[in-house]
Symmetry: C2
Subunit: 242 residues, 2 copies
């Protein structure tokens, strides 16, 4: 099976959670945004897919994964689907639900990170909502980030499996996504994140262990991973990183 991933070019965004799973799982996939227009790819192909002519189960937004004849959307849903074939989730039903539950909680944190710089939504540029962003970020760094980080630290701590992971003794897609959010937080809020990780050694170790995985390290070295940048969800505005 050759998967096709539809996601906007130039940013990691939600697409990166899927890419990390595909890379670690050793899957063959086409990143449609990177395929030339002349070969049926690019932004035009994404817009055609989203227009969804003749599709009876249309997606609302990217990321979308094409797997054979199926179009699957919603980041958490795509990872739920990929967890089995890529061996990135436990085989039992309870373990699969637990991994999915963690992923949904990681995406809740991700959404709150977006709100730090766009509390009024993406209908307004950051420059139009700086004051609101400062207030939202203050609460995020003081209350919400520590609450999420302490929760995930505890998940690793009480996991009966050995090693640095959240679910049992093997790496899951929840670990990959957790590491990605930590990497993004280090970019967006280097000072606050360094402080938060100093007190949460298990999360720091998980982050390091994911980015040391041979396939993930190879992906980062390949130049295919889009660098963090301020058009993306993780943004570094020094005014917000107290």
């Amino acid at each position: 099976m050759i998967y096709e991933l539809y996601y906007w070019p130039g940013v990691q965004g939600r697409g990166e959670f899927i890419r990390l799973a595909l890379e670690e799982g050793g899957a063959e996939y086409r990143d449609v945004a990177l395929v030339p227009d002349s070969k049926g790819g690019g932004v035009a192909a994404i817009l055609r897919m989203l227009a969804g002519r003749g599709v009876s189960r249309p997606p609302f937004a990217v990321p979308v994964l094409r797997a054979g004849r199926e179009l699957i959307a919603q980041t958490a849903n795509i990872l739920l689907y990929l967890g089995g074939p890529l061996r990135l989730a436990p085989g039992d039903a309870a373990g699969r639900l637990w991994t999915h539950q963690l992923l949904l909680t990681i995406l809740d944190l991700y959404q709150e990170i977006f709100s730090t710089h766009h509390p009024l939504g993406d209908g307004y540029a950051y420059e139009e909502q700086r004051a609101a962003a400062r207030r939202r970020t203050r609460d995020f760094l003081r209350v919400r980030l520590p609450k999420f980080m302490s929760y995930f630290e505890r998940v690793i701590e009480v996991n009966p499996g050995r090693g640095p992971w959240m679910v049992g003794a093997r790496l899951s897609y929840a670990d990959l996504s957790m590491a990605q959010v930590i990497a993004g937080l280090r970019y967006a809020f280097p000072r606050a994140t360094a402080r938060a990780l100093r007190r949460r050694p298990r999360l720091a170790a998980l982050h390091a262990a994911v980015f040391r995985r041979p396939r993930i390290a190879r992906y980062l070295a390949s130049g295919r991973r889009v660098p963090f940048n301020n058009e993306d969800l993780f943004r570094h505005y020094p005014a917000l990183d107290r």
Copy 2:
């Protein structure tokens, strides 16, 4: 199986998506918040569960469903779990993923509705963020709500199954949750929602059909459904409903 639902009393909140599924599915369940403290229920029981002593898979927040020895959290994850036994999702894997994908998109809309009155998060009271709420709501009602509503209207339209539903010919938990969000929007933004529904007859019909279901009608008539109120996620502030 007698399920136990953990959710805060006094508001519908995310718990209501679970309640509607349990009611329509004819499940036996205990709403822990409504059980007296002296019988091991109430807010004290919720806090004890969230403290999670001795639990190896702790939840981050309510709603949480106890099903036998399992504790399942995250609204979408609980409905994914209940879809099978309550016959509120298709039996095939692709249909289950599609139903889950719709539910995740409905919850994205739900989260944006929360942000209309709390764009700076729940660290600040509404009264401390009125101006930001007005700006966020303006964009929500002009851009985001129509986009979501048109999408869900189209989902019903292109569904090959007959009838008012989103997934095939049978009611699913996605329909129940969609109807719940429409009911909440009618409470929070009566003018804007009436206008939006006039142009989306399929969504209006789905909403009516869900609340006409005998078990749902009985639940509403029982007095057990918490009325909409301004401590909840759906809030009616006339200043926000242009």
